[in-house]
Symmetry: C2
Subunit: 150 residues, 2 copies
């Protein structure tokens, strides 16, 4: 499960992405982003700060300040955002590339059967999620409807 915080981050980026796609985009205040995305304003502050530090959005302070998207949507990786907000994606610390950690109880990583089996699943999963970008979300209404529920 992704966290609520991640959902808020995505919603905020959708708002900023929609704005950036307009004819004459303007910077949006936290207040406005919070309103449009349905996010608690004070909480959104923290989220936007992290996203800004990652170089995805930019902020200007003072009157007529606000936030705007500075990366092209196609360059905003969902998996990177996940790592930023929710932490490592890998099912096991010993399978994470960016946040590798040896399992403290593991005697021999190469022969670990748990690692081995999750590695296979994980690589397949990674290929899929690494290819996802904000652009995919922004134009997702154009995607053909599929049966989802149940």
């Amino acid at each position: 499960m992704i966290t609520q915080k991640m959902k808020y981050a995505l919603k905020a980026l959708l708002v900023l992405g929609d704005e950036a796609g307009k004819a004459e985009p303007v910077a949006l205040t936290i207040e406005e982003i919070a309103r449009r995305s349905g996010t608690p304003k004070r909480f959104l502050e923290h989220i936007l700060l992290e996203v800004r530090n990652a170089g995805v959005i930019a902020s200007t302070r003072g009157r007529s300040g606000g936030y705007s998207l500075i990366k092209k949507p196609v360059e905003v990786s969902i998996s990177e955002l996940l790592r930023l907000i929710d932490g490592p994606i890998a099912p096991l610390p010993c399978l994470s590339r960016r946040a590798y950690q040896r399992c403290e109880d593991c005697t021999d990583e190469a022969s670990c059967r748990i690692r081995k089996v999750f590695a296979e699943v994980f690589w397949s999963y990674l290929v899929i999620i690494e290819s996802l970008t904000l652009a995919d979300m922004l134009r997702s209404d154009k995607v053909a409807e599929q049966v989802l529920g149940g």
Copy 2:
């Protein structure tokens, strides 16, 4: 990330699976399973209880009691175990089949762009992990080595 508890559950099942594959398998005590799997004994109690209630293993009480695998390894689904120990697999509650929950802030599920994009990733992922069983883990040493680390 899967929890430590899930790792312990898998390790315990590997121990019981290995035992079940022997010529003359015997029931193993918690003590023995804890020793072989490197799991805290008192914690393992709770884990084995849950796994037993799911019908994967059986227990006998009293002297010469213990645990043994009662399902065939090929019938022990890793994804079911994940659901049992760690909860829903889906990235969003509104994408879970078994633990479906509407996102409380969601106005229209069908048009939710977050849901839509995660749905695609999730279904692909599900296909892979749903096919995994304990049997795959038990014979995973036969799997060709692949480069994992980094």
